[in-house]
Every structure is written in C-alpha cells, then in structure tokens.
C-alpha cells in the first residue's frame, strides 16, 4: 500500500484523530480549531512556524492539558478530555520537548515505571502474590535492559537519570515511552537540541518503531528529518490545520511557504 492510498483513506485507517480542537490562554488563542487524523502505522510530522500551537496540540492529545473544545478519537473510541493516565492506558504515549526525566530514579527504573499494568503496583499483590509480582518484575527488567541496549543506554542503567547529558536524556525519553509498548507515539521535537550524529540515530530508531507497527506523530521543525523519515505531514499555522500531504507537495504549496516566511506582501501573488 502506498502512502497516497493511506492519505486518501485516512479516515478509515486513522489511529488518532481530532476535530476542532480549541484552546486559549487568558484570552490569547493558541489552538483555533485544529483538525487532522494520523494514519495508522505511518510516521506523521506536525510542522509549523513558532506559535502555531504544535506543543499545545500534543499536550491536549495526550491529556496533559484540557482543551476548551473539540473532540479526540483513538481508533473509534472518543477520548475527548480524558485524563492523561486514561489516554496512556489506551496505548498513546508521549515524550516531552524538554526532556522530563524522573531525576531521582535510575535509568533502568525510569523504564520500569513505564509498563502500564503492573501487579506489583497493588498493595495486596506485594504481600499476597509475591511470586506473580516477582515474575512480572523480572520479565519487565529483562525487557527494559533489552530496550536500553537498543537505545545505547545499557551502560548507564544504574546512573540517576538527572546525571545524564542532554542527548542521553532525549534517548531515555524515547526508550521510556517505547517500554510502555505504545500503539501510538507522540514525539514532541525529538531532535531539538541534538547533535547531527544523534539526529541520524534517533531517526533510525523512529523508523524501527514504524516497522514494528507503531503509529507515530512527531512535532519537528528540522525539515530534513521530516523529509527523510515521515510519510505524511500536517502543517499547523495560527492554531489551525493549514495543509496535509507529503512534504514535497507542501513545499510547492504557497500557503505553507507563506506560513513559514510570512504572508506574501504583493497583493497580486497572494491569491
């Protein structure tokens, strides 16, 4: 199935969709009716100039922030204004633009927090079903160590997360989300403040996740990266969805260029 098929059928295959999301902060409108859908099993980029409301949209979709209006669906389930943890349990995981590591925990523990249902999180199980808890913990630890190996953090597993470098925190952020086995992954600027070598590497990780069937929506303003790894692009400007499609098409789209460089001042060329 080609990318074009997906875009034409996107409603049918949408893993995540939103309609008319509105959010303002003290009278200043940040998101103004954003609507789009994220095709299943693809990598979708969410791009747009500063102040377009990209991060706010991610916050609303992941439940970290309540919207003022609009609806959100994961698959066919209406999850509008659900709590953050409920959305996470639907299989949607997110990362944060500025890495938010759990600083007092070790790298390994950061990952071990992630699995959604752990019987060891219940007081009853800790004392009355220790066997089950222990087996689960061992399986999770094994998997966490595997994930850490994949993301090159294995050697740092016993370091406190707050001691990591900026780039390592970025990787931790992604591996922690992966540990939760997401169906949908929201990446908020995974490449921001990252050196070129690591950008290359993270790009590879994201493609691997796609190969495993994870649906990905990533906010990204490095368009080289978008071009290389994203199947589908959503352009957000002034809190609204401006255009969707492939990056090569969008580059020729006057409105998109305008959103990035400013409105074309010459009235004749401005449609």
């Amino acid at each position: 199935m080609s990318v074009n098929d997906v875009t034409t059928n996107e409603v049918a295959n949408a893993a995540l969709s939103c309609e008319g999301i509105v959010k303002s902060f003290q009278g200043v409108v940040a998101v103004n009716g954003a609507s789009f859908s994220v095709p299943e099993g693809q990598i979708t980029a969410l791009i747009g100039p500063n102040g377009a409301g990209k991060t706010t949209v991610v916050n609303i979709l992941s439940g970290s922030m309540k919207s003022d209006g609009g609806t959100e669906h994961i698959g066919s389930t209406d999850v509008s204004n659900w709590e953050s943890y409920q959305i996470a349990r639907m299989g949607l995981m997110r990362t944060f633009q500025l890495s938010r590591e759990l600083g007092g925990l070790t790298v390994l523990e950061n990952l071990l927090v992630a699995p959604k249902t752990q019987s060891g999180e219940s007081l009853f199980n800790i004392f009355f079903r220790p066997g089950k808890t222990k087996r689960e913990e061992h399986a999770n630890t094994q998997r966490a160590l595997d994930v850490l190996q994949t993301y090159g953090l294995y050697a740092l597993r016993d370091n406190r997360a707050r001691e990591l470098s900026g780039g390592q925190k970025k990787l931790l952020e992604i591996s922690r989300a992966v540990m939760a086995e997401p169906k949908i992954l929201l990446l908020d600027e995974p490449m921001a403040g990252v050196n070129p070598a690591l950008i290359e590497k993270i790009g590879g990780y994201i493609l691997d996740l796609k190969a495993k069937g994870v649906t990905i929506l990533m906010v990204e303003h490095n368009l080289n990266v978008v071009e290389k790894i994203c199947d589908h692009v959503i352009v957000l400007a002034e809190g609204r969805t401006l255009a969707t499609g492939r990056l090569s098409e969008l580059r020729e789209n006057k409105e998109v260029v305008r959103a990035y460089l400013g409105e074309v001042i010459d009235a004749s060329s401005a449609r």
Binding site: S84, L105, E109, A114
Partner: protein, 344 residues
Amino acid sequence: MTQVFYYVFTLIFFLFDYFILAMGLNIQYGETGILNFAYIGFVAIGAYVTGAVSLPNSVGTGQHYILGLNMPFPFNLLIGGLTASAFAVLVALISLRRLRTDYLAMVLISLSLVLYDICNNFVPLFNGADGLYNVPAPLAGVLHLTTNSFIPVIALVTGVIAMFLWWVMSRITQSPLGRTFRAIRDDETVAAALGKNVFRKQLTSMLIGSFYAGIGGGLIIQFGGSFNPSAWLPGETFVVFAVIIVGGVGNNVGLLMGSLLVETLLVHLPAFLPAIPGHPGLIEYIDAMLIGVLLMVMLWFRPQGVVPERVRKSTVIDKLLLNSNGASAVGESLHDEEATSVSQ
C-alpha cells in the same frame, strides 16, 4: 543505677517509635512528595483511638470517651492505625486532588490545628484538655509487670513492631508501587503520561503512611498510659520532618539514624537533665530551637541527610537474568562506547 536503666529503655522506646513515625512520613513526603503538615494529627488519632478502645467502661474513672471496649493489645493498636488510615484517606480525598503544594500545606496545617482545637475542647470525644489517662499497660496482666519492669518490655515490643514495619516498608519501597511513588515525586505529569493514576497512588501513600502514624501514636499512649492535646501541637510534625531530613529522606536506615540523632539525643536525652533553677522548661525550649537550627543547617549543607537515598542498582536482578540470558554481558561492552558517544 536502676534509674539510668529505665532511662535507657525510655530512650530506646522513643528511638523505635519515632523510627516508625519517620517511616510513615517518609513514604508520604520522601517517596511520594506529599507535604503532609498535618502528620502529627494522624499520630494523635492513632493514640486516642488506641487509648479509647483499650480503656474499660467509663464508670468510675471519671473520663469521657466514646467506647469503653477494654480491647487487648495488639488489637487496640491495629484499630488505632486503621482509624488513622481511614481518616487520612478522607482528608486526602478532599484536599489532595487539585491543590498545589503551598495550598495543601496551608490546608493541612490548618487541619492539624483544628483537630487540636476540637480534641482540646470537646470533652465527650477524648476527654478534652485532660486527655486520656490510666490506659491499661499492654501485656501487663499477662506478664505480671510492675510500673518499672514494664518499660523494658514495651521498649522491646516497640522494637519488634518497628522491625516488622521496617520489613513491610522495605517490601513496599522496593516494589513497583514504591517506584511509582518516586516517579510521582519526581514529576507528576510524566507519571500520568505513563498511565499512572497519580491521585489514587497518592491516596495509597497517604493510607500507608498514616497507618504508621497511627501505630506510632498508639504505642506512645501505651507507653505513657496517658495522652493529652499538649503532646501533639502542630509543631510536633516538624520534629518528624527533622528526623527524616536529618537522617536521610528515602532511606530507611537513614530514618533510624535520624530518629537516634533528633528524637533520642535531642528531644529526650535533655529531658533528663536537671532543670535550670528559676527557668522551668528552658532546656526544652532551647532543645526545640536546636532541632529547628539543625534542620536548616542540614538542609543547607547536606540536603540528602546523614544516610542518603540509595541508588537502586540493577546488579542483583542482573545477575539473576544473566544466568538465563547471556546476551546482556555482550551488550554491555558493545554499548558502552555508544553511550559515551551520545554525550554532548
């Protein structure tokens, strides 16, 4: 000589009792990040309830209290702990959901004062300002103990309970639940984004911690045989904070150290010093000041405490896993370089 002997056991009693109280506050503040300024209120509830259910029928004693069940040890203690827990959950349900740290601190310290005010004034509840007295000594009947020989026994019993509760607490803090508590302490938003029901986990933490508060309080009334409102003015919460901050937040051994340094050496040892003539209570006042100063000095120079929180290393689990899966060892050497190359 015998005097000294009983003093030592009194000190031992308070060492273990405050160790229990410190573990309770630590799970709330140190592990989950809830700034519970009403902690001493839950201790008081444990003490009163334990006392009230152990006292016989009120006829003849001249005291006012609700029940008169004459319940034997350790059931009275258990009831005290559970009541404190239940009350904590009720309080948390109302106050914890949407209050930011400083609001919560204000509400809880207010609660602590109000509880004090009510207990002090409402005689039918726990006998008002007089408090409860003549509470039967635990096991005294069974072991034929006298007032003096009772002290080593209760110190020992408290020690045993403290060790048991230590074991229980270690199980909790080392479990996935404890890890989730610490995740919430470090960053609530991230914990929620990972699918953790933060509010429910905070309730659980309040429940566990306040059970410890209740048990610790129950033991105090069992030790002294009496308990009145002046024993739990809101400032007492601060002593427990001092114990955990001086000892080391998030480390159970640290809490025992803190209890030794603050409660035993600073609070109770000076109580045995002879009073300065003409200045009744001056030693206690200076003592309390010292605790405040010690806490500030510790926070400034060694905020992690005497015994800092341990890094929970993977080595133990790792060894177990390596037996079944050799891949990790290979992975380590391979990924060491990669991890360093990532630094920027």
